[in-house]
Symmetry: C2
Subunit: 275 residues, 2 copies
């Protein structure tokens, strides 16, 4: 595993964080896949316990530039979880109705309930990033959202949410290859969007906006993990590993009934279950 | 495979349908598991195509008495699908707010959008079954719901929904064993509910109510399949098989862009993707 806490936002700027990660990881491809599979199985078990226990709320935020692998992460990291208890919410362009509300309105509706594991494929962070990149809001309003997002997340935490935030960090070169692949491979046409090309021209602005927001919303209890995402195997492994390590600490358990209660029920049940 | 169309509600009453199905199936346990796994993989592929294509809406209704295996079906049949694009909705006792609306209000909100596969773990059928069993509504009102449910489902179909309805059919004896197991196995305590014991005492009323509603809401375009559910392997196999067979007929495909459009985009993209 890449050393823990190595990829939290800190003093160095985003572009100093690796996007490849290959050199940092001692496992070869086959070992990576095996380890990721094992982590995936354990993640599935933990998710079942969390669902059964119904005492924890888990929220996993996936952010990253276009083509950074958010969909692939959902597909591969969560392959062993149970669709009952896991909910994926993909935030697209806000609808007309959503636009008439504050930007956290639609987000708040989708936060996890007890026992749930919710994955945000994009999130409220878009509501900072997009205006910051395209200057569609007054600077003060954009700036204020940092504070608002922090307050919102603090509230979620104090109400029992365990929050993961992953930034899928890819290189400019890797993005070009992925967009090209979506154009070249007919089976990937559906993933191509003209806006990916347009937005790519704001690469530097995106890096700057992310650099700011990652630092400003990183907190030890709701950390950002900057995931080297050029290599999909590394990405899946790293995310799986972080999820499993932190979820283990919650020690979810199957809730058991009191011994005496069970005994009483059993004696009453005997007749009903006899025929 | 158990012969197609064998288990649609028809002239014979529910209790004449098998709950075991072992005798009807020529596969042994190992073959069943292998076949079910292969069907599961294909179901995952079909689901990905449906999601990518975004032209179909798929709704899968799971009904059955307590302990009939609705949760297990979700876990095992859909294990190869992608949580992005698949949504499980478990309908519990209606909340106070839900009770203030008509019974289809909360159901309608959860129906699938284009590209989605939605699984209803319990459904609007509870709103017929429960009042019919416990006589909590005037007979005319209960009766009327049959027509309303048919109208509602017809509308969904005409708006592009492919509707599956599975009734998980278990024997009285098997239910007793499953409730006992939930009491005996501490890891299953969380699945035990006192109401399972209470409701079991209305076994005959449940059979009668299901017998009526299954017949009255069975239609060739939105059929009920009565699944022999005493054996979990048979259950998973049968449901997987029916899903795959019918979804294949939809012929979902990756949507492709027009050749000329792609060529034009590529030439424009070249510069953007160069650096």
């Amino acid at each position: 595993m890449i050393k823990e806490n190595k990829f939290h936002p800190g003093k160095k700027p985003l572009h100093k964080f690796p996007t490849a990660g290959k050199k940092l990881c001692k496992l070869n491809d086959k070992e990576l896949e095996e380890e990721t599979h094992e982590l995936g199985v354990r993640l599935g078990e933990l998710q079942e316990l969390i669902y059964a226990e119904s005492k924890q709320k888990v929220l996993i935020v996936l952010q990253g530039l276009d083509t950074s692998g958010k969909d692939g992460t959902v597909k591969h990291v969560f392959s062993e979880t149970n669709p009952q208890g896991v909910r994926v919410v993909s935030f697209k362009q806000p609808t007309d109705i959503e636009k008439r509300h504050d930007y956290l309105w639609r987000i708040h509706q989708q936060t996890p309930a007890l026992g749930e594991m919710v994955i945000f494929n994009r999130s409220h962070y878009e509501d900072y990033i997009i205006p910051a990149v395209h200057k569609t809001l007054p600077p003060k309003k954009i700036e204020r959202r940092i504070k608002e997002i922090n307050h919102f997340e603090d509230m979620l935490l104090s109400e029992g949410v365990t929050l993961f935030k992953f930034f899928l960090h890819i290189s400019r070169k890797e993005q070009a290859q992925r967009i090209q692949e979506r154009l070249n491979n007919p089976k990937k046409h559906w993933k191509f969007s003209l806006s990916d090309l347009n937005e790519r021209q704001f690469w530097d602005q995106y890096q700057k906006a992310y650099d700011t927001i990652l630092k400003a919303t990183h907190h030890k209890d709701r950390p950002w993990d900057i995931i080297p995402a050029d290599d999909k195997k590394i990405r899946n492994y790293e995310i799986s590993n972080i999820l499993v390590q932190r979820l283990e600490k919650l020690k979810p358990e199957f809730p058991m009934m009191d011994h005496n209660v069970i005994r009483k029920i059993k004696s009453e049940a005997a007749k009903i279950l006899r025929f």
